[in-house]
Symmetry: C2
Subunit: 223 residues, 2 copies
DNA sequence: GAAATATTCAAGTGTTCTATTGATTACTGG
DNA sequence: CCAGTAATCAATAGAACACTTGAATATTTC
């Protein structure tokens, strides 16, 4: 059947719309953010995004229909991952656009961080310099599997859940920098709070591994 | 009122979702594409996107609520424009992601171009070279106002509507390259068809001005 | 093969979105 | 001030969507 001009355009923009529709839900965006950290099972995503399993599964199917994620069944578990690196980069572009266009985001973040007394930040370029000089200890407070799928070179993996029991490993004479999934992940905020209460000098780095990577800096992967 | 971690995340992703929701409609994406060509009135957009005025106005308000477009009233007309260059670049990133993830797009395009006998294409880098050598005449077949808000250096403005009456201006001994808004705009396809029927040697360039610009090439603006 | 578990499916409900229609507002020019 | 035009608003019907619940499926383990 022949395409009229209008039908052709409608067909094309409908395809673009498949991507757009996949991005239209806050929960799906949160899940994409989580999947930027590495592959995850449905159950893990469900827990980390605070929603029911069935709902998580349905959202994942929407993302899969837009070909933004792929899944693979391993025994009892189904593991989902972003379809390729471009998807994570695109998610970051959306995040950057939102940050630049919507001042509400900065306002919400400032209010939250103030309340958590976590306004002090280290920038990634400054961190790189001070790591090089051996002045700081870098802590990756995400779950172990995320550390293993990619982390900042030199970082020590201390998942937030283990932090209190592993304080003895950390230096008291050096500043500690903690990072997690990115600017809107609160794991490092919690970590800073714990560390300060115990008398450590600790600050947060906003960037996650994907931001670090997007800035052209190297990333280590566990074998 | 204090933010819990979950409330903070929900508030942040809800903001990201504002951008996502704005992208969830094929018609809105088409309008963003059109607005990448330059500012337009509601009436113009309505005509170019083939939809009623009221519907166009409503979609524009959704885009404005997401701060992707801005409007300005001049007398009887309201002119809408993209809020900044990043919005156009982001739209192009979405388009590129869609093209890379959804094979349907290539299939639909191929079928349409075959039927219109318009498969032959010139790449932008090849065009730049041949323009420099004076081997080709470059035709911008978009409406005049779009030409004026930005065009490829050296291009002649011959809106499709005027093409048949201005054939005398065009060379018969040289290849003619026509371009329009981008790969999914059909103005240049129509132009090629007219030109060939009249015995000219004509091929299409897929890229529009914003693609040309995104590739780091210079753009001329009429004073 | 039965129990346990991860995931998906199916159905239902309330909400949000799209497109249409007709009315209304805002502005210009006579 | 009136007529004409661009744009928006308001109300609506129908479609699509998000989330919940409970059942079904697939796989592993005992």
């Amino acid at each position: 059947m022949p395409y009229s001009n209008r039908k052709f355009k409608d067909a094309i923009y409908e395809q673009f719309g498949r991507i757009g529709k996949a991005l239209a839900s806050p929960k799906r965006l949160e899940m994409m953010d989580l999947l930027c950290q590495g592959p995850k099972t449905v159950e893990t995503l469900s827990r980390q995004a605070d929603q029911t399993l069935a709902n998580t599964s349905q959202h994942l199917q929407v993302l899969r229909a837009a070909r933004l994620v792929e899944s693979e069944k391993n025994g009892l578990y189904v593991t989902y991952r972003l379809a390729d690196d471009n998807v994570c980069r695109f998610y970051q572009a959306l995040r950057a656009l939102a940050e630049s266009r919507l001042f509400e985001i900065a306002a919400i973040t400032r209010e939250f961080m103030e309340q958590r007394d976590s306004l002090e930040l280290v920038k990634s370029d400054e961190l790189a310099l001070r790591m090089h000089r051996g002045e700081v200890t870098l802590l990756d407070v995400r779950p172990t599997d995320e550390f293993e799928s990619g982390h900042i070179p030199g970082a020590i993996s201390v998942p937030l859940a283990e932090l209190e029991s592993r304080l003895a490993e950390l230096p008291r004479d050096q500043q500690i920098v903690a990072y997690c999934r990115g600017p809107y992940c609160v794991l490092s905020v919690e970590a800073i709070s714990v560390l300060r209460k115990k008398g450590f000098r600790a600050v947060r780095m906003e960037d996650g591994v994907s931001d670090w990577k997007a800035a052209g800096l190297p990333v280590d992967i566990a074998e």
